[in-house]
Subunit: 228 residues, 2 copies
């Protein structure tokens, strides 16, 4: 399945490449959450100068994946349950509004494309039910398309450019495998229908519920894990 990721523009400079590598490593936990980052060490590992490493770190800071204190250094952001909840609440606000705007601003062609995508998901889901990875990819693609459909550059930048990296990080590190695939698919369908009807108010409401449900699902899972 093609992951239509709007954040990834071809890296031209070496700082770009290092940024992408570090982004990947942090998101999937190869570089553990909370780790102190040693500039000299990392620079040596990548065989680059500290200047270009710092350039890469600056971009990671932009998506809130590393935090820097003056004269002290950088750390990979710490993953916490509180942080996760805060993130999802922010998502609820932003993606809800993006969905409302999408209902107003998406072209008919874009809507058509979404409906086709859902049809594909339905088929692939019917075939390999339970295999959640594809559903995960599909879920991300679905949300990206709606955000882009808002045609609001501010929303697009904030959500795709910074928030989503953190979302993916939490998903992977907390081992969220989208346990509610069929339910989520149903919700996706309702949302697309609202957009097709150009009903922005309903579209926003449904998206907010969708994300809130996802958050509660994750909260429950974590609560279960803590009980074990």
């Amino acid at each position: 399945m093609a992951t239509n990721n709007p954040t990834r523009l071809d890296p031209v400079t070496t700082a770009d490449k290092v940024y992408e590598q570090l982004l990947h490593d942090i998101v999937d936990g190869t570089i553990a959450s909370g780790t102190k980052i040693s500039e000299p060490e990392l620079a040596k590992r990548f065989e680059i100068s500290r200047s270009t490493l710092r350039e890469a770190l600056n971009r990671l800071e932009k998506c809130h994946l590393v935090e820097r204190k003056a004269n002290v250094g950088s750390r990979v952001v710490e993953c916490s349950i509180e942080g996760l909840i805060e993130l999802y609440i922010t998502r609820e606000a932003l993606e809800g509004m993006a969905c409302r705007q999408a209902a107003a601003n998406m072209t008919d062609a874009e809507i058509e494309s979404m409906q086709q995508m859902l049809a594909t998901h339905a088929r692939s889901q019917a075939l390999k039910d339970g295999i959640s990875y594809y559903q995960e990819e599909g879920d991300v693609d679905f949300h990206y398309k709606i955000i882009l459909g808002s045609h609001n550059q501010q929303l697009i930048n904030i959500i795709c450019g910074q928030l989503y990296h953190l979302v993916r990080m939490y998903r992977i590190q907390f081992g969220m495998k989208s346990a509610r695939a069929s339910r989520a698919f149903q919700e996706h369908s309702q949302i697309v229908q609202a957009i097709a009807d150009r009903d922005g108010e309903l579209a926003e409401l449904l998206m907010r519920r969708h994300i809130a449900a996802s958050r509660k699902n994750i909260e429950n899972k974590i609560a279960q894990k803590l009980e074990q």
Copy 2:
């Protein structure tokens, strides 16, 4: 009036100082919107090296005040009516949610402090009615307090750390002098009441209307200016 600005932490490094100076100059238009930034020239002007200037530029990029293209350079962000609308729509989503969270998470002391603030505004407004500068400052302080009251670090970072610089830039450059002072004050009071009642849903609704009204007010003003 003390401007309780949560973004301004004491600058320790020279890059911090240059950042703050540039931030100020860009927001108030001393460095015009859309200007190409020449690194060698700016570095010479501030009598610093290009490295530390680039550090400052990176932070400006974080709040979407400058945009950089690889191997080409940086420009001050362009102010457009579309951009303004997109910004206010984003504000509506984020501050609306922040207000809902504030209703849930603000301490009684924080609420008390807001009520006192409003009382001060009421008095100062009654005295020097029409002098909108204080009202402007007061408005910013009001919104900051609510955002901080959400106790949601993600929302606080996005809104105070990046969005608000742009908001202030648009306000100044488009010459918005808050023509609806008394109306805005009334809306502020209603919002604080909803928060005091711990009615998150209403608080969010009112904040969204408040920002939407502000946006429409600005749009009208711009339309009038274009007619002249």
